[in-house]
């Protein structure tokens, strides 16, 4: 299902995570797969702590990253969240 700006994102409960060398490492417990997030990914991951909507994630990115445009870069954020969902790192609650 295509993501909308109102969809809310939360972390999969069954992950392990640690900040390591300024970047976030995340492991999915079921398959022990290790993932490393880059700077922006680490930032987005930190915002997911409070189960934000995609719109709220974009707003936080705009506040923190110069040049980030909520409207233009929305699709990149959606792609990233979809990747996290496919890898079972997050759960997306679809809200209309």
């Amino acid at each position: 299902m295509e993501l909308s700006v109102h969809d809310r994102v939360s972390k999969n409960e069954h992950i392990a995570q640690r900040m390591f060398d300024d970047q976030m490492l995340v492991i999915t417990a079921k398959d022990s797969m290790l993932h490393k997030l880059d700077d922006v990914g680490t930032f987005i991951w930190s915002t997911i702590e409070k189960s934000p909507s995609i719109k709220e994630i974009c707003e936080l990115l705009q506040e923190s990253f110069e040049g980030f445009d909520s409207r233009k870069d929305l699709s990149d954020v959606c792609d990233f969240v979809e990747t996290l969902e496919k890898k079972k790192l997050v759960v997306v609650r679809h809200c209309s």
């Binding site: 390591f20 417990a29 022990s32 997030l37």
Partner: protein, 340 residues
């Protein structure tokens, strides 16, 4: 997001952790109490007199998380004998550790397996001495222990928990590794097999250690697995170990070691902070010394095939940087299988 095959990324992460002395993987022994009396066990005490409380472990776990620990292995003794076991696992998961548990399986019933699954643990290792009850029960010292271990394996696998059959090959159970390997394939379990037997007494080789002929036979039969041998360029690196850099072990009383098998004390994190112990003069001295192994090891012609373990060297010879009978014998035999 960078997502690469786990082994490659894990190796790079481990290398960084080792360079920066980040204790990425820590094994904690919750208790030395055990309901088995395994023939080869190196524990000298089975009492709980110095076991830390759940509250003390909670404080230590928070400090480990701050220090960068991601992988937490919970072991013993038999860890499920500790009354606070599930509380400690729950706290560890709350701090987002990737938790592994090593157990003899005797107390891992369906309810316990479901609780561990609900807590999101990464994997469980269950010890097997043999692939059938008579020998396993004889070697664990407890009648009925094989049936319980086998049942625990089935519970975990049925629930979808990643589960490993853990096996130490010795002179008393030689040959069982092939049967356990087969069992792992038929059940979907992983198989983790070690052909070194940790000696129970200082300055001696375990009386259950494999002979040269049996090591050769073991390697020949297990050769379907990829051969592990270093190129000439990194043979020196192979002689070193990440223990005390990216790995640590913590005893039931809070004593911190480079590794659970390498009992060189860094200090005690029940009375000091883990960070202070990890950066203590004893820890720094160990890391300095670890960079200069004995001359005989550095020039040994079998070093490319050496599965160097400072812990076994210390136990067998009293000198952790030097040769040890088991390690040298294994290296010599392993080298026969190395590509020319």
């Amino acid at each position: 997001m960078k997502s690469r095959p786990s082994a490659t990324l894990a190796q790079r992460i481990n290398s960084t952790a080792s360079q920066k002395n980040i204790p990425l993987g820590v094994l904690i022994e919750l208790t030395y109490r055990c309901n088995h009396r395994c023939y080869y066990c190196y524990q000298k005490s089975f009492t709980r007199s110095h076991d830390l409380s759940q509250r003390q472990w909670s404080r230590i776990l928070a400090q480990l998380a701050q220090s960068g620990t991601l992988y937490l292995t919970i072991s013993g003794g038999e860890p499920l004998l500790k009354k606070d076991f599930f509380g400690i696992v729950e706290h560890a998961r709350g701090l987002k550790f990737g938790v592994s548990v090593i157990t003899n399986g005797s107390l891992l019933d369906a309810r316990a397996a479901r609780r561990l699954l609900a807590l999101g643990i990464m994997d469980i290792g269950i010890s097997f001495h043999a692939a059938s009850a008579p020998l396993h029960d004889l070697l664990s010292g407890v009648p009925g222990s094989f049936a319980k271990a086998r049942r625990a394996l089935d519970f975990c696998l049925a629930l979808g928990v990643k589960t490993a059959i853990k096996h130490t090959v010795s002179s008393l159970n030689f040959g069982e590794f092939a049967l356990l390997d087969k069992l792992s394939r038929s059940t979907g379990a992983l198989f983790e097999c070690d052909s070194f037997v940790v000696p129970a007494q200082a300055d001696s080789v375990s009386s259950y250690a494999l002979s040269q002929r049996k090591i050769r036979e073991f390697l020949r039969k297990m050769r379907a697995r990829p051969f592990s041998c270093s190129s000439e360029r990194d043979t020196t690196a192979r002689l070193h170990c990440d223990a005390g850099r990216s790995l640590a072990g913590i005893a039931p009383d809070g004593a911190v070691f480079p590794c659970a098998q390498l009992r060189i004390p860094f200090g005690n994190c029940a009375s000091s902070s883990f960070k202070d112990v990890w950066n203590s003069p004893a820890a720094q001295k160990f890391r300095r010394q670890e960079t200069s192994l004995s001359h005989e090891c550095r020039v040994c012609s079998f070093r490319r095939s050496c599965s160097r373990c400072h812990g076994i060297a210390l136990l067998e010879s009293g000198k952790w940087r030097g040769k040890s009978p088991s390690l040298c014998l294994h290296a010599a035999v392993t080298d026969e299988f190395a590509p020319a």
